[in-house]
Symmetry: C2
Subunit: 258 residues, 2 copies
DNA sequence: CGCGCTATTGATGACGCTCAAGACCCGTGG
DNA sequence: CCACGGGTCTTGAGCGTCATCAATAGCGCG
């Protein structure tokens, strides 16, 4: 469930902003990049250096961009709350959404090398991020194996995620793609200890379609079909998965004919 | 041109195998992973350690696998000569080719973390690889920023490559996909100082189709169409690109109607 | 020299796109 | 407060691209 949203980081109700620099901020504990930040914090020796590496609370309204393709990379971004989509653009302007990201994810790593953003990141709603100076981050990473480990881990996951998407686009039909998409959302929510079977989408039908290589209308129609079959209940962005088992079979087995 | 193939590493005509361990092997100079290996070699202190890290000349016949999905990762592999395809498999057995790889490329990095292969690598013809012990490699990487740099660089490129493929599958039609594919091959050959406009495919129509999310027959038909339009000449696996300019337009511009 | 894999070409039809129209929702401003 | 407007969602009709099935030709390899 996330109607009110995971905005604990975005709108810190208990004591805004300035924490004593000597201790890890309270609301960082729930951040997916917590370990990475702690490494930064510990290795940076004195806490003031940590503050120079990580600047907190950059706010983005729905539709605002974190960075664009071609821009030079000055920061990495950790999502504190809200949600972000990343997309790449072909020469003739066609846009492909590559991923949807939520609290705890680190964005921009794959562009660290080239120092030029290869894709665009845009908030899909009110979103808050931590800014990490790329130069200082890299400096620390050089000295700290734990940070390197995290970097490789994140990038490996990214490769795997993108490869899964290729498999989906290359070998699965519309129904299978949407089923797989819903299940992967479900798993994401599970990791965050939200409900696995009922949640709100953070993105439009159009964005889902773009991501899955389908038209917006097709997404609607497949939703309708899944609903007719009793597999899901969808009312706008509120989704309920009524039969994970059968969804799995649709996503994975060509032979699931009923 | 590569009919006789880039097998200088596979069949080392001038003095097989055992080089004096004190110097870098002659035929390593042309390897794409040269810098990485030199780093390994320099940092390993004594050359005998280098020999423990990199074991040379593992030979694979056409169709043999380097590793399979699910296998535990014991080595990374540098391709010395020949060509390898990597693919992932969905639960119900559908296979998606993710990439074609040739001399100089390092395979397996993205599975280093999990220590479990996430995809399968298979030789598409006679191929030779160097085996790199994953444990020793990781050990050295921890101490050497240059190696870390190379790792992140390779993985970044992999992410970008896979994202490009998603864009291709998600937003481009058959003709655009094949045109883009041929152009990317052309660029690869350019980097190796082979001919940009005439070369031999290392993979079957079926593999190309699989990679591009199309049927084998569609690949044939699109080849035929491109040939009719005078854009390429294809006779079996021998390809000649007659108009790079116009191919570019087909690959990138929806509006290229002639 | 023939077997098997690869490539080619045709006929047919399905899946998903495009275009179109209308409903709905929500924020904004009169 | 209501009306307006833009964005989102939904549903329908028709069509195009590409998959599928099938048959044959070609090629390389043992």
């Amino acid at each position: 469930m996330m109607s009110g949203e995971d905005m604990s980081g975005v709108l810190p109700k208990r004591g805004p902003v300035s924490d004593p620099p000597a201790s890890v901020p309270q609301d960082c504990r729930n951040c997916g990049a917590y370990k990475l930040c702690v490494s930064l914090w510990l290795k940076s020796g004195d806490a003031s250096l940590f503050d120079r590496v990580v600047k907190r609370k950059q706010m983005l309204k729905r539709g605002e961009t974190l960075y664009r393709m071609g821009q030079s990379v000055e920061h990495l971004y950790v999502i504190r709350g809200g949600s972000v989509k990343t997309c790449i653009t072909s020469e003739d302007g066609r846009v492909q959404i590559i991923g949807f990201h939520t609290a705890g994810e680190l964005l921009g790593l794959e562009d660290m090398q080239t120092r030029e953003h290869n894709c665009e990141a845009r908030a899909t709603r009110l979103t808050s991020v931590c800014e990490v100076s790329i130069d200082r981050f890299e400096e620390l990473a050089k000295k700290d194996a734990a940070i390197q480990y995290e970097i490789v881990k994140i990038m490996s996951a990214e490769v795997r995620h993108t490869q899964e998407l290729v498999l989906l686009l290359g070998k699965h039909n519309a129904e299978e793609r949407l089923a797989a998409f819903l299940l992967s959302l479900s798993q994401q929510f599970a990791q965050r200890h939200y409900s696995t079977i009922e949640f709100d989408l953070t993105m439009s039908r159009s964005d889902i379609g773009n991501y899955l290589g389908l038209a917006e209308e097709t997404i609607c129609r497949v939703f309708a079909r899944l609903q007719d079959d009793g597999l899901v209940t969808s009312e706008g962005r509120r989704i309920k998965l009524n039969d994970l088992e059968r969804l799995q079979r649709i996503a994975n087995h060509r032979s699931a004919l009923s």
